[in-house]
């Protein structure tokens, strides 16, 4: 009973957590993320660089990422991934609900090549972005970066719950099994494979 009460109180506190600003997104299913991504990689953000796009119409940020492991697809050892928003001098552009990169952070990314400018982007915006974080007890987790900054909806318009963090080994096993089930033949099972 006491545990139930404590859980209920924690849940209520959780309900009052401060949400962040937003755009509106329709949620992708896991199957969509896996089947529509060109590659899924684990790596570390080496540096980020924000600048005006070639058209001069918007600020973009390019993140240089060292690829430590290719989980699905092919990838060189160092890639550049583009997102929108960033700071140029004292002008800040906030793109609500889009992926945000920080140098030094370890990540897992579902990536695709945007046909309009051939840049690599994160598929499904924040849904395709996970941080790799090691807890004090040594357990490493894949932490979803969906943070309410985007209004994440199912195609029928109903809200999607925030996904949970998963132990990284279990995350990869699940990803590979799901990809196999979907018929992908470019799944890598050993670390540090660059193609």
């Amino acid at each position: 009973m006491k545990r139930l009460i404590t859980f209920a109180a924690a849940a209520l506190i959780g309900l009052h957590a401060i949400p962040l600003p937003a755009s509106t997104f329709v949620a992708m299913t896991e199957a969509d993320l896996i089947s529509k991504s060109d590659r899924v990689i684990q790596g570390e953000v080496l540096k980020v660089h924000s600048h005006w796009s070639k058209s001069g119409r918007i600020v973009v940020t390019d993140a240089t990422i060292r690829v430590d492991e290719v989980l699905i697809g092919d990838s060189p050892e160092v890639i550049q991934v583009r997102t929108f928003g960033g700071r140029v001098n004292d002008f800040v552009v906030e793109t609500h609900g889009f992926p945000v990169f920080q140098a030094g952070k370890k990540v897992i990314l579902y990536l695709y090549e945007e046909p309009s400018d051939r840049s690599l982007r994160v598929l499904g915006y924040q849904q395709g972005h996970f941080r790799v974080v090691t807890r004090l007890d040594g357990v490493t987790l894949a932490v979803p970066q969906v943070d309410q900054a985007g209004r994440l909806l199912r195609p029928d318009g109903s809200p999607v719950p925030i996904p949970a963090s998963v132990e990284i080994g279990a995350f990869k096993r699940h990803l590979r099994a799901a990809a196999e089930k979907l018929g992908r033949t470019d799944i890598h099972r050993s670390p540090a494979s660059h193609r």
Binding site: S23, R57, F91, H96, G124
Partner: protein, 251 residues
């Protein structure tokens, strides 16, 4: 003992619930406002999937500037809009535009609509000055408006989504009050977000009570505030005078 614990937790929970329902709005961080109320240029091409007279242009303008949305919150005119060309769409030019297309291919795939806010962190009071905030739309989704003759079938209402997005453009973040315009989810065929609720009103008024920065923010509405006695809608900032004759008050 267990009973005492249950009561204590219940009181805390009730307190949180009451607090949440009374004051759950959230402002963008850092807090930010425009120097003067922005006037949005709404893409005069409209959206092809909206089969009203002008592809949803008029409905969008009326929704984001009407008294049921931000201008009716009691802080005066905080946003304007007019139809026009968005050919010059560019973040950072100080001309806020609502584009029914996505010229930079930033909002595609699973993105329905996106707001980009450009601001400077240069006010002495710690608030930021919004210089530009542009909105883009993914026209591959099925959109509808209140004026469509054929009703709604698994479509998204342009009015509700754009009142929500312009809420961000004027400085509001998400709330956890279900039913409020700034609640972070909406169902297909639900145009509820087109009309702001008390939580949205509280959020906007808190934003502008902060002074609005260098320019002092948009002028305060000199008409009746919420709770003031009134005899007609025209006497209220919100445009809503409700209640029985002789006891009506502004909402």
């Amino acid at each position: 003992m267990k009973k005492a614990h249950l009561i204590r937790v219940s009181v805390i929970a009730a307190g949180l619930t009451v607090f949440g329902s009374v004051s759950a709005f959230v402002l963008l961080d850092p807090p930010r406002t425009w120097d003067t109320a922005p006037t949005y240029i709404v893409d005069n091409r409209g959206l092809a999937s909206i089969t009203d007279d002008d592809g949803g242009v008029s409905n969008t303008i009326n929704a984001i500037t009407g008294s049921q949305a931000w201008n009716g919150a009691g802080s005066g005119t905080v946003i304007g809009a007019q139809a026009g060309s968005v050919a010059g769409w560019r973040l950072g030019d100080g001309i806020p535009m609502l584009n029914f297309d996505d010229p930079e291919h930033a909002c595609n795939g699973s993105c329905l609509a996106a707001t980009f806010t450009g601001f400077f962190e240069n006010r002495s009071d710690g608030s930021a000055r919004i210089f530009d905030a542009d909105i883009v739309t993914n026209d591959r989704f099925a959109w509808t408006s209140e004026s469509e003759p054929d009703g709604c079938l698994s479509e998204f209402f342009i009015e509700g989504v754009m009142v929500h997005e312009t809420g961000h453009a004027v400085g509001l973040a998400h709330t956890d009050v279900s039913g409020a315009t700034m609640f972070p989810s909406v169902s297909a065929c639900d145009n509820g977000p087109a009309s702001i609720e008390q939580d949205d009103i509280d959020g906007l008024n808190a934003l502008f009570a902060g002074g609005g920065g260098d320019g002092g923010g948009p002028p305060a509405c000199e008409l009746g505030q919420r709770g003031d006695a009134c005899t007609s809608d025209a006497e209220c900032c919100s445009g809503k005078c409700k209640g029985p004759a002789g006891r009506s008050s502004c909402r």
